[in-house]
């Protein structure tokens, strides 16, 4: 999950580096629905249980996209790091979820 040279961390500081300026909260989100065909396969998988790989990948892609959008926002305010990053996931309706990534954009020395 690396961006265009912007450091991403969920710590509140970067060891050994000083924060020069705080630029406020940046966030990125995406809403994803699952594929009906994959859902049928998942339904079959559901008989025996276990990991639903197609869904795992879907969620990973979605999370990556949310982070990319957050980083784009951070770049637009001139930050070189986003600290204290958090993720939130909410299921909106059956079969769709929103993924949100947010953090504090800062300028590191």
């Amino acid at each position: 999950m690396a961006g265009p040279n912007i450091l991403v961390s969920n710590l509140e500081l970067v060891p050994g580096r000083r924060v020069k300026a705080h630029l406020g909260v940046v966030q990125g989100s995406t809403v994803r629905a699952k594929h009906a065909g994959k859902d049928i396969l998942a339904g079959l998988k559901n008989i025996v249980g276990g990991e639903l790989k197609a869904y795992t990948e879907l969620m990973q892609e979605a999370r990556e996209e949310a982070v990319q959008r957050m980083l784009a926002q951070a770049a637009s305010v001139g930050a070189n790091a986003v600290l204290n990053v958090r993720f939130a996931t909410t299921s909106i309706t059956a079969g769709a979820a929103e993924i949100l990534a947010y953090g504090t954009a800062v300028v590191l020395e």
Binding site: M1, A2, L7, V8, S9, N10, L11, E12, L13, V14, P15, G16, R17, K34, D39, A42, G43, K45, N46, I47, V48, G49, G50, E51, L52, K53, Y55, T56, M59, Q60, R63, V85, R86, F87, A88, T89, T90, S91, A94, G95, A97
Partner: protein
């Protein structure tokens, strides 16, 4: 033949239940074996919930590491859980499911840290979401997501090169 057609739904139900019980149990056992093996392998990667690095002034490189997994329960567990909701109490069938998912997510996060060459993860957070269809006949599926910040010694220009 007539009999089979007459009780088709019941037979299907019993077959699915048996399939869920037998295959689901074997798969769970295998998954637990794999989890234990990988947990032993990755025991050197330390993961903590603390928010601050032990030495905040030492320059270190930070990387956000993540691990996630979507799991679904088997037919038998769903049936048992359905019965359980009638009388309430501990749902052991789902406890093991989520335990597996959480440990798997943790292992994937640690593997991510290893890929980045780190062996220390701080501020580890877990998040679980229901991504399935919920009550309306959809596939019950839970996502467990683990993330944290991996620290590795920074290749600092001012730092004297250490002897190997």
């Amino acid at each position: 033949m007539q009999l089979v057609l007459e009780y088709f739904e019941l037979i299907l139900f019993v077959v699915l239940l048996a399939l869920g019980y037998s295959v689901g149990r074997v798969r769970e056992k295998r998954h637990y074996q794999s989890i234990r093996r990988r947990e032993a392998e990755l025991a050197g990667v330390l993961a903590f919930g603390i928010r601050f690095p032990p030495d905040p002034n030492a320059p270190r490189e930070c990387v956000l590491v993540t691990g996630s997994v979507v799991v679904s329960s088997d037919y038998f567990k769903q049936f048992v859980a359905g019965l359980r909701t009638l009388i309430g109490g501990r749902m052991a069938a789902y406890e093991t499911l989520l335990d597996r998912a959480r440990r798997e997510a943790m292992l994937r996060m640690k593997a991510d840290a290893v890929r980045h060459g780190a062996s220390l993860i701080l501020n580890v957070k877990f998040e679980s979401t229901n991504v399935g269809g919920g009550m309306r006949g959809g596939v019950p599926a839970m996502e467990v997501f683990a993330y944290g910040t991996a620290l590795k010694p920074a290749p600092a220009p001012r730092e004297a090169p250490r002897a190997a």
